[in-house]
Symmetry: C2
Subunit: 299 residues, 2 copies
């Protein structure tokens, strides 16, 4: 690697800027009555969030020597799915949140109908990005990226996890049920972020196991950290409402394990994530740093 | 053609049954807390509607000798997009309709949050169906189907048209603006239904012109007929609320042209649609019958 060594926050800032740049290019208002839709999409998608998913894709792509421009395209598609799910999640009929990434939620800044359409349109945008030859020259690779993303975001993945979450309201879920729910709700898209790099590298199935293990551990650690932030976090720093799981009487990793054991569990998952990378040298340092960040963050 | 000659309603019934069958297979509840999501998707997707879009794909595929099983898969993907848009459209923050296809709207039969997720999940299902090798053996063809569908359903197509419709509330749109709006809102997906057959047949660009002309004419005729039904239709027969455009003070083809001229315009469009097919013999009879049906229907 003859790249200069950057810190995690420098890498994250660089990736975030490139994702913003691509969103900005793709979301140019057409200059007609659709402008409001494009502005709502841009409001939600540009200039916010940790961009952890695109960062994971870039970091995993680095293991296999994949052109970063392609990893940024795939990461932006993943972020489009993530952002669409946040827009719909924040709607009054879902979690009813007014604040997202330190800004008014899309339905507050615009209106509910525009927010529904902006989410739907970012959903399409993700598949549009992946189907473009600029993402990968091989049609079979683009197709595999698309098929796996539809799985990760749909009823077998993220949307399925959200349904489990809704259906469980008022029920006392145990640790196994919470783990399963979160593996779908947040884990599926985080796992896809790493899997996408394996797909672009055309890695055979049997060589993907360690990367899947890494992603699964990071996804779960990330969610436990989220529960800890929701439990004891600072709303201003988090950029979103906190304490809402407790208010809703929802079981979380923290309510089930207690704060101390939850934190210990998250740290153990990060250690296990590192174990999966032991066959790699410094080219995996960014993935290692992301795993630590997943639990050490405060927002 | 050594197939028996069927009437339009026999063909439509046959296609509807095959679309239902595929939805039914794809929407088997997994037997956990996601079951409610799968049931909501099935409620909206199975056993209703005219299935005009899948019928168009099957009819156009027949021109090129494409295996009907593939046309049904593509038509089911298109219908998944259509149904997702109906679910979201019916939400209280959008058109606020309680009745759809003669049944309670998804948010009435289930709840709003489940309806949002069911729409989102049908959106993913469409891309999942298209990315499957059973849809077409060539990855490049599946990719082209996917890219064109993301265009037709996203901000450059259906969702963009819906935004135009929302943004135009209270504004006096003229005939040009209404035509442009409807070409996106309902036209884009109807045009895709025919384009998809051209893609599967690997027709070069310059040979697609007549089929695009046919689809554009049918799409517009279909929309004028919709406005006529909304203007003077029977709610019970239509299976949805009627008179709502007038109630909302929205300009429509009927409010701008009057009933008589709107009907004449629709009939002229059907004639023009037929002109585009004049290079074909009886293999295009189903397309011709669909064009007539688009304006002669009462629901």
């Amino acid at each position: 690697m003859d790249q200069p060594v950057l810190t995690l926050s420098e890498e994250a800032g660089r990736v975030a800027a490139r994702v913003d740049e691509l969103f900005d290019k793709l979301l140019t208002p057409p200059g007609d009555r659709r402008d409001r839709l494009f502005k709502a999409m841009a409001h939600a998608a540009i200039g916010g969030g940790k961009r952890m998913r695109p960062l994971l894709t870039v970091a995993a792509a680095r293991l296999f020597g994949i052109d970063e421009k392609r990893a940024i395209r795939v990461g932006t598609a993943i972020e489009a799915i993530h952002v669409y799910s946040l827009i719909h999640d924040d709607l009054p009929c879902m979690d009813d949140d007014d604040l997202r990434r330190g800004k008014p939620a899309t339905h507050k800044r615009f209106d509910e109908a525009t927010a529904v359409l902006a989410g739907d349109s970012l959903h399409d945008l993700a598949f549009e990005i992946l189907s473009d030859p600029a993402t990968h020259e091989r049609p079979a690779v683009r197709l595999e990226l698309i098929a796996a993303l539809a799985q990760a975001s749909g009823p077998a993945g993220m949307a399925g996890g959200q349904m489990m979450d809704l259906a469980a309201e008022g029920e006392a879920l145990d640790l196994g049920a919470i783990t399963r729910l979160q593996q779908l709700k947040t884990g599926a898209l985080i796992e896809y972020s790493v899997e996408a790099a394996c797909i672009m590298a055309r890695l055979p199935e049997d060589r993907r196991t360690p990367y899947r293990g890494y992603a699964r551990n990071v996804g779960l650690a990330f969610q436990i950290a989220d529960d800890l932030i929701d439990h004891s976090g600072d709303e201003e720093r988090a950029g979103k409402r906190v304490g809402k799981d407790a208010d809703a009487g929802k079981a979380t990793f923290v309510s089930l394990l207690g704060e101390e054991r939850a934190r210990a569990q998250a740290n153990m998952l990060v250690e296990q994530a590192g174990e999966h990378l032991k066959g790699h040298g410094e080219e995996a340092d960014l993935l290692r740093a992301i795993a630590r960040f997943a639990v050490e963050r405060d927002r």
